[in-house]
């Protein structure tokens, strides 16, 4: 009814402002475009957690017919608004993340060795680049045991987020 429509409009208006803000952080030339390589960062910082594959599909949706390497705000806005309204690509809860680590830690030791982590992250799933791997190692690996105690790691990262 009228009330609900109003409420949705308000929500959409707020989404528009949020999306515009995030977009502008990367709009270096102030001409309502961003480099396509920054789209992932923008989408993720708006609360979404897509896979790389899903990201590629999204980019295809907002790109120009003849890809220019830039994404225009006018194309990005409606797509992103829809994603937020449908609450797509929800972030991963802490306990699910913990279970994922536990799956990889079949022996249930409470940790993964550095080599194991590298193997999984660079050979399975949507593999990390070398840079991504190095960055993760620098924060995750306990230098004395050369392993990642994933429960502590998760706790640390989550606190940092908040």
């Amino acid at each position: 009814m009228a009330d609900e429509k109003d409420r949705e409009e308000i929500i959409v208006a707020e989404f528009h402002k949020k999306i515009k803000e995030a977009f502008e952080v990367f709009d270096h030339e102030s001409n309502n475009t961003v480099d396509v390589r920054e789209i992932g960062t923008i989408i993720r910082s708006l609360g979404c957690c897509p896979t790389e594959g899903e990201l590629h599909d999204l980019i295809a949706e907002v790109e120009e017919e003849e890809p220019t390497g830039y994404i225009r705000f006018e194309k990005f806005l409606p797509v992103m608004t829809e994603i937020l309204l449908e609450r797509r690509y929800r972030p991963i809860p802490e306990d699910v993340l913990l279970r994922a680590f536990e799956v990889l830690d079949s022996a249930k030791r409470g940790f993964l060795t550095k080599d194991e982590l590298i193997k999984y992250m660079t050979e399975e799933g949507e593999p990390f680049s070398q840079e991504e791997m190095e960055e993760m190692l620098s924060a995750a690996i306990d230098p004395e045991s050369n392993s990642i105690h994933y429960k502590d790691y998760i706790t640390m990262m989550v606190i940092d987020e908040n």
Binding site: T41, S45, E52, I92, A100, V103, G125
Partner: protein
């Protein structure tokens, strides 16, 4: 057989699939985490930059304030007139007495107990290197040598043309460095990594040597020393911080006062005596000359050293020539000004001839002003508005992506210029590209305008430890730029990216919260507008809109919101308690009214600048009367609502010397935030630093 193996395969397959999915999940989560970190890093950068530029706007406004006062303020009493006269007249900077003061170094005795470097002139390369070593060991150069060096430097600078040329012969390299801002570690690192200046190794420093960092004096000593030792190979350009007014606000004046305290206190004692003398002199002057008070605070009139120093902060690189710089009018004797002006004309004429341009002078656009200069040759001592604007344009402007040229409203001075302007300039003077500084860049450098403009910034960790790299650029005979980056802080090496970003972010947020506090009253009224029902609650969306409309910082408030506002139920914010919490965070005096406190915070930088201006003999003290007069001036022009009684109460609540003088530093310290306990470069206090090695000079950051 059949089902056994297939079950095993089935499980194996399931396990592999589960591992695959688990890995994918972790990666997905991690990438989102990194993206948010990146966003936080960008936002933090925006915060620092917008606060810095807002401060610069203030600076320009302050300058306008003084101009306004000069033109309109009618002193209502004898005291006020004297006060103004002291502030505005050139008397205290009269060229004669200035030179006298400088050459007064001879009367200063250096005690035997002094173990620092001793200089003798003419300087030798060894003297210059000895300075670097001494400063690295945290020694301080004796005042006598400082003054001596300044005196010699001034003599040298006075005879330099506005445009200097450096050439790359076959084997030579030129190194261009950007802003240093008093960060001695960066300068030492550059010399360590790139080599000391020498006849085979030319250096150009693109201004902004002082302010903000804590070793501006030392940097100047080193730079001046090398300039005297290698006058042909070592060059200094002027930046917007080579300006007295800017120095008063941004820390250089304060540093000098703190480091050379004895000289200051001596002056305080003689102050009253000289005040009397000034009075006599003042009276005499008033009778004799109708000379207009010369605005000493205009940008081009004062820089260090205080000679008519007009060098370019743009170092246009040359195969043949450099861009012209307007000869801002000289405030000294006519002789000198004519000489300097004509040398500029000659230089420009030569450039034009070499470029095959017509020698007849035409009125061109501001970038070439010699024509204007010579039309006024020998007439005005005072710089014209036009000339002043040109200098401001050169020292304050920034490149932009769009074509055209528009006023730089963010900084409050200079302009934004587009690629077409650059193209025009380069073509007109047959230049290859432009190297400039003035803007901090995360990587220490940035190309723009199709790689025709290079911004080079040499102060690493400028906003905060871990905020950015510094860089310098080397040019060989082919003029291909080769950039070297660094980050000189032992602590940054031991931190993960996450930790580095967190630290910088914390610092930025603290600064931002202080700014918010400083506008509490305005914020409250803005919030109330969104709270028509007077419930005491507003939506978070309204919060963002309100904050932007008050602060005008252009920041992504919704992105920052989670860190500025505690998560509230159903998206509503109790704004009054939020404001109260902001106030609690700041250092405060319970007996001072919070609105007064707020006003102080908002105008702290202006206040400090004005105080230092009043404190003309740099003693660190101003009288209670001057303090009151300052407030009156400020409040009348800047619409600050404070009663005289409040000021008196304020003064009384601060401990000041019973002789009716206020220690400026004491007053300002009372309203500072608690400094973070982990100081830059001081690893002993910093919990995160682990075995930071000292490789002699500094451990350079990873490039």
């Amino acid at each position: 057989m059949g089902s056994g193996t297939s079950t095993r395969h089935h499980f194996a397959f399931q396990n592999a699939e589960r591992a695959f999915k688990a890995a994918a999940l972790i990666q997905r989560w991690y990438r989102r985490y990194m993206a948010r970190l990146e966003m936080r890093r960008r936002c933090t950068w925006s915060i620092f930059q917008s606060i810095e530029y807002a401060g610069q706007q203030d600076q320009v406004k302050l300058h306008d304030f003084f101009s306004y006062l000069m033109d309109h303020f009618i002193p209502s009493s004898h005291n006020e007139r004297d006060f103004l006269t002291r502030m505005f007249t050139e008397d205290r900077f009269a060229q004669d007495s200035e030179m006298e003061k400088c050459s007064d170094y001879e009367s200063i005795e250096v005690p035997d107990s002094y173990t620092g470097p001793r200089l003798s002139f003419p300087l030798l390369p060894d003297h210059a290197t000895a300075l670097i070593e001494a400063f690295r060991l945290k020694q301080q150069l004796h005042a006598r040598y400082v003054l001596n060096l300044l005196y010699e430097t001034k003599k040298h600078l006075v005879q330099l043309p506005n445009i200097n040329r450096v050439s790359t012969c076959y084997s030579e390299e030129i190194t261009v460095c950007g802003d240093l801002h008093g960060q001695l570690d960066d300068l030492i690192f550059i010399f360590y990594k790139n080599g000391l200046p020498s006849p085979e190794r030319s250096y150009v420093f693109n201004g902004d040597f002082v302010d903000r960092g804590k070793d501006s004096v030392e940097i100047l000593m080193i730079l001046f020393a090398f300039m005297l030792v290698y006058p042909k190979e070592f060059h200094l350009n002027r930046g917007n911080h080579e300006d007295h007014m800017v120095n008063l606000r941004y820390g250089f004046t304060k540093e000098v006062m703190n480091k050379y305290k004895i000289v200051s206190t001596m002056r305080c004692k003689t102050r009253q005596k000289s005040e009397k003398q000034m009075e006599e002199k003042g009276k005499a002057n008033r009778k004799s000359s109708a000379q207009e008070p010369i605005p000493w605070f205009l940008p081009q009139s004062r820089s260090l050293p205080s000679s008519p120093l007009r060098l370019s902060s743009y170092k246009a690189h040359k195969t043949s020539r450099s861009s012209s710089i307007p000869c801002g009018g000289c405030l000294d004797r006519r002789e000198l000004s004519r000489q300097v002006r004509s040398s500029v004309e000659l230089e420009l004429e030569r450039c034009r001839q070499q470029a095959g341009l017509l020698v007849t002078r035409q009125k061109e656009e501001p970038s070439c002003s010699a024509s204007e200069a010579d039309s006024e040759a020998g007439e005005l001592q005072k710089p014209t508005q036009e000339e002043w604007r040109q200098v401001v344009d050169i020292l304050w402007s920034d490149p932009m992506a769009q074509e055209g040229c528009k006023a730089n409203t963010i900084r409050g001075g200079g302009c934004y210029f587009g690629p077409d302007v650059t193209q025009q300039l380069l073509q007109k003077y047959n230049l290859q590209f432009l190297i400039r500084s003035h803007e901090c860049k995360p990587e220490g450098y940035e190309f723009c305008h199709n790689r025709k403009v290079l911004t080079i910034f040499s102060a690493s960790n400028y906003y905060e430890v871990g905020s950015n790299r510094g860089a310098y650029v080397k040019l060989g005979p082919a003029l291909t730029p080769h950039i070297v980056q660094y980050q000189t802080n032992k602590v940054t090496n031991t931190l993960t990216m996450r930790q580095r970003i967190s630290r910088v972010e914390e610092s930025a947020l603290r600064a931002l919260r202080e700014k918010l506090f400083a506008h509490s009253s305005d914020l409250l009224s803005e919030f109330k507008k969104h709270d028509a029902d007077k419930v005491g609650l507003i939506t978070l969306s309204d919060w963002a809109a309100a904050v932007e409309s008050v602060l005008h910082l252009g920041l992504p408030w919704r992105m920052l919101r989670s860190q500025l506002v505690n998560s509230s139920a159903d998206n509503m914010l109790e704004y009054k308690s939020w404001l109260k919490n902001l106030a609690k965070e700041q250092v405060s005096h319970e007996n001072i009214q919070s609105s007064l406190l707020e006003t102080l915070y908002r105008n702290r930088s202006n206040l400090e600048t004005i105080f230092r201006i009043i404190d003309s003999d740099h003693s660190g003290f101003i009288s209670l009367d001057e303090f009151r007069q300052t407030w009156k001036l400020l409040s009348s022009h800047m619409n600050i609502d404070i009663t005289d009684d409040c000021i008196c109460d304020l003064a009384r609540s601060i401990d000041f010397n019973k002789d009716g003088h206020i220690d400026i530093n004491e007053f300002l310290e009372a309203f500072r935030l608690v400094e973070k306990s982990c100081l830059e470069g001081d690893t002993s206090e910093c919990p995160q630093a682990t075995n930071a090695k000292d490789s002699g000079c500094n451990s350079p950051g990873a490039c």
